[in-house]
Amino acid sequence: MTKHEKILLTIECLILLLLLVRCFRPETHVLSLEGGAMTEMMEQEDGSILYEGESFSLKPGVYRVEMRSNVRDEQKIYVEINCERSGYQALRGNGVNVYPNQKYSSFEIFVTDKIEDAYVTCALYGGREELLGQIDIYRTAAGSRVLFTIVLFCFLAFDILMKFRRRALLGKISRKTQIVCFSLAVGVLLSCFPYFTDYFSFGADTIFHLQRIECLKNTLLLNFDFPVRVQNTWIYGHGYMVSVFYGDLFLMFPALLRLIGFPIVTAYKIFVFAVMALTAVITYVSLQRCVKNEKAALFGALIYLLAPYRLYNFYNRGAVGEYLAMTFMPLVCCGMYLLLSEETDSEHYKNYKWYMVGGMSAILQSHLLSTEMTAFFVAIVCLAAWRRVFRKETFIQLLQAVGLVAALNCWLWLPMLCMLRTGEFMVSNVFESQIQQIGIWFARLVQWVPNSGTTHLGIKSADAIQIGVAATLILMLYGVLRWKKEIGKTKRELLLLLGLTLLSVVMSTKYFPWDMLAQIPGVRFFATSLQFPTRLMAPATVFSSWFAAFFILQLEEEKREQLAKGVFAFFLALAVFAGMYQVNSISSRSVASYFYTAENTGTISVGNGEYLIDGTWVRDYFYHDPVAEDGLVWSDYEKKGTDISIIVRNTTPTDKCLDVPLIGYPGYMAVGESGLKEPYIASERGEHEDLRVVIPAGYEGTISISYEGPLIFKVSELISAVSLCLLFVRMAWKGRKACQKK
């Protein structure tokens, strides 16, 4: 490290230290406002009465607004913090609804510049000021934590860039590597373009995933659960078992950003940027490992990064699970390619399976349906290359990969399977749909201009569900060159990739006989669970970009350098222009939302409600206190997420039931005071499938209810934990052995 670098590092550490100290400031109380002190302003058009509080000033920072209220049935309050005069977007926050029986609510607002005249407004529906309890505003240390994090990342980015520049100037980083880094960085920035704004545009599923992040953060904060199984604040505090069916591992990152104090949308945008960057790196490294040619790897990576279907998943659909899974699909391709193409006696042969393990694990943690598709195509490849698969060492490595994926991810898939087998969940009904009619028309395959559409059906205003004009034309060019015998005999991998691309594209259309396949027992589940065939565009995108890379490789190996250069330059330019067109189209057509306050979205954006108990609907739920049978008295009720503490007294000679405001998922435990007959969770559920606790006759004391999960959950977590530990031990042992050898 040079002298200048040491000085710079010292200054950076000092600044960070100063900022770190500010992160531990206690909350300061800014304002207390009684409901009775608010002034009635007017009756609004929708019949609500608007109340306004006295004005107050706010310094830059993050504020928590707490509200206590007496809202009853048929009543509602909409609370908002406003200001008269301020700098541009100085107050960033949205209003929040307070629902019937919701005695306590809390939300955040973000102030970026000093505001002199902020004030609280409450719109009351169905009542007057007696609904309002008290509003308290606290200034939190979240702003300091956000500042610290931003400064930390800025310093890290600066240091890395300076280090990179120094190494490049010293000739330690080759020109090719510099070009690769620059190109991938430009590709990432281009693909993130629609989010470089101070507003947000929602995709179809974005709200659902934003709520997943927010509720994950709340569950980590309130209940200290890990792994999270039931996310607590969903559905008016009843909890939602989304984490069992939909891996949350990668959402820990934006949840962590939320814990630090970033607004939900900022956390999400940072997450998207990180995923784009990770996609670029993973795809390039995977391709480079296989083709061993920087130009071909860069070509394939950029075509994949800017693929229309990928960008459509990010911005039009907001399909977090699917685009996360697409990030890791190249790893699986890399693993399969190396295991099948390399010689079994090569030095690092046994290490190749880790690409498969890493890729499949990450896909499983991201999106179940993508796992299904990946497994299907892995099976196809194994069938196509069966001779190679049944080489002894290859077969062993593949089996080991399967075993490792199963063991390391046991904590996710085993509980999921157990819950699915109960048949109690709505998700079983979703799998019954016929999907053929929602495949794409052939016309969509020649819809080369990637417009940001408004529907995935039909052709008019249709989304860009395609592999992209560059990938399509490369396939056509290959066909023409082969037909004219301009290129030599096709390599097997190129042929396989071509076949897989065409197969997955055809499967995504409405011409593939999905409905006929759904009649076949055993195949039905897989044929209908996809929900829509257009998901097959994800593997099609992967295969077509890999095809592009291997095509360049073949041209170079046949010494067709001019043609390789021409194909590289032209199709890359085409991919970049098409990507630019698409992000521009997305940006210009999307609706801008100034969304900052996570609580504004409410708690019921569950989409189709796949993980509710079958027979219930989200609209059945509402905030409510525990409901006790006659003879049962309760008091001191406290609810922290999915943890409930309550004192009950059963004065009757029979057991009585208490229904608590939690969805009755399997796995809740009720613990009473020691020495008394234990209360227990009933097998039947209460109204709208609420959790029912049986209080034994004569019981008097505190009951603690929390979600522990069935025994199988614990076993699966243990298996995964042991597998991970053994893995670390083995890696450490191998590393030590390698060091000793050196």
Binding site: V446, Q447, W448, V449, G453, I459, K460
Partner: protein
């Protein structure tokens, strides 16, 4: 270079030119991938003619169907597709076959015309450029798909055959050319009777100015073949049939172009179509070659330029159509049947492609790679890319009709 090498190079060039030409044709067919008829333009008129399956529709039928301005058009080119519709009951299939034949027919007619024009050396390149410029012309694509003025589209398909016949007859007496020209001219008449007179007038003027009296031999057989149409035209322009349509004579100047719009690079939905970026770039290259590099200009281009200038002038908002109407009531009625002066610019496009192709041939002869290879390649890419964009935007924006 040995003869074999030259022959191989020529063969390779021929293959590439064929492939690129076919690619240009392929992208024109993209809207046919739609499994439905797209609404908009005059597609309803085509449907009515297919459903009625008659050569000429009565004034009352035209008025009821909301197509009085199409009185001078016939259903001749719709008859085979009426049959397909009646057999299959599938109007989308009938439309797809019609449009496929129209586009392929336009490709072939343009090929015929440019092969005659570029009969000397560099035949292939001139033919290639002429055909590509014409079939990817935004005006022509807008006529076929956006406006769905299928009568005008048929006219634009047949005009190259007329030009081919006239050019062929300039050099020698050729009965096949006379027949082709006559059939094409008559076909234009049956497609759109109003435009028949425009094309006829243009043909007469061109033949007289260039002294190509043999070219006039196509006229009498054409008139003979188009007798039915002539009678109908007389009834509508001079008789009372016009009144039965329930429309008044109306000026068309307001629907014309502003001068700048003639040079628009592409056709945006709802706007008027321009000449396209590819054609514009080619003409610009031609102007460069002529003015800066003193390249030789073909004398024949002047007549094509003349037609283009006249067509452009007639398509402008400022053209004095009111003076034309003073000639007589029949002239007013004829102008009414034109509906819009945009048709003249559309008809002039084929002539615009000739000097554009010429300039690309000259550019292709340059030894420098940028001028000789890169620029022509760029222009080709621009033509195809804008066509893809236009066709994709059409299918993206249009609602299904059937």
């Amino acid at each position: 270079m040995s003869e074999e090498v030259i022959k191989k190079q020529a063969d390779d060039e021929r293959k590439w030119i064929c492939a690129m030409g076919l690619l240009a044709l392929l992208v024109i067919l993209f809207p046919l991938a739609c499994p439905y008829l797209m609404e908009g333009g005059k597609i309803q008129e085509w449907l009515v003619r297919v459903q009625q399956s008659r050569l000429f529709l009565d004034a009352e039928v035209l008025s009821d169907a909301g197509m009085p301005f199409s009185a001078l058009q016939s259903g001749l080119f719709c008859l085979p597709f009426s049959l397909i519709y009646k057999i299959t009951g599938n109007p989308v299939l009938a439309y797809r076959i019609f449009m496929l034949l129209l586009q392929v027919g336009t490709f072939c007619s343009a090929l015929l015309m440019f092969r005659k024009l570029f009969a000397k050396e560099d035949n292939r390149r001139g033919v290639f450029w002429g055909v590509v410029f014409y079939i990817t012309n935004p005006c022509r694509i807008a006529v076929c798909y956006d406006a769905a003025d299928l009568a005008l589209a048929v006219v634009m398909m047949l005009v190259p055959i007329v030009i081919y016949a006239v050019v062929d007859l300039k050099n020698e007496m050729d009965w096949k050319a006379i027949l082709a020209g006559a059939l094409a001219l008559a076909g234009i008449g049956y497609a759109d009777g109003a435009l028949f007179w425009v094309v006829l007038a243009g043909l007469l003027l061109v033949c007289l100015i260039t002294g190509n009296l043999r070219g006039l031999l196509t006229v009498p057989p054409a008139l003979l073949l188009f007798t039915g149409g002539i009678v109908r035209t007389i009834h509508y322009l001079f008789g009372n049939d016009f009144l039965k349509l329930g429309i008044d004579t109306q000026p068309i100047a307001a629907n014309g172009y502003y001068p700048g719009e003639l040079f628009l690079f592409f056709h945006a939905p709802g706007k008027l179509p321009g000449m396209g970026a590819g054609l514009f770039m080619a003409l610009l290259a031609g102007a460069w070659l002529l003015l800066v590099e003193n390249a030789h200009e073909e004398k024949e281009n002047r007549i094509f330029w003349g037609i283009v200038v006249v067509g452009a002038a007639m398509s402008l908002k400022y053209f004095p159509w009111n003076y034309v109407e003073h000639i007589g009531e029949w002239a007013s009625r004829l102008v009414t049947f034109f509906q819009t002066p945009v048709v003249f610019w559309a008809l002039a496009q084929i002539c615009l492609c000739v000097p554009a192709a010429q300039s690309m041939v000259q550019m292709g002869r340059k030894k420098e790679k940028i001028q000789g290879i890169c620029l022509p390649l760029l222009i080709y890419i621009v033509c195809v890319a804008l066509t893809v964009w236009q066709c994709n935007t059409l299918t993206y924006e249009r609602l299904p009709l059937l």
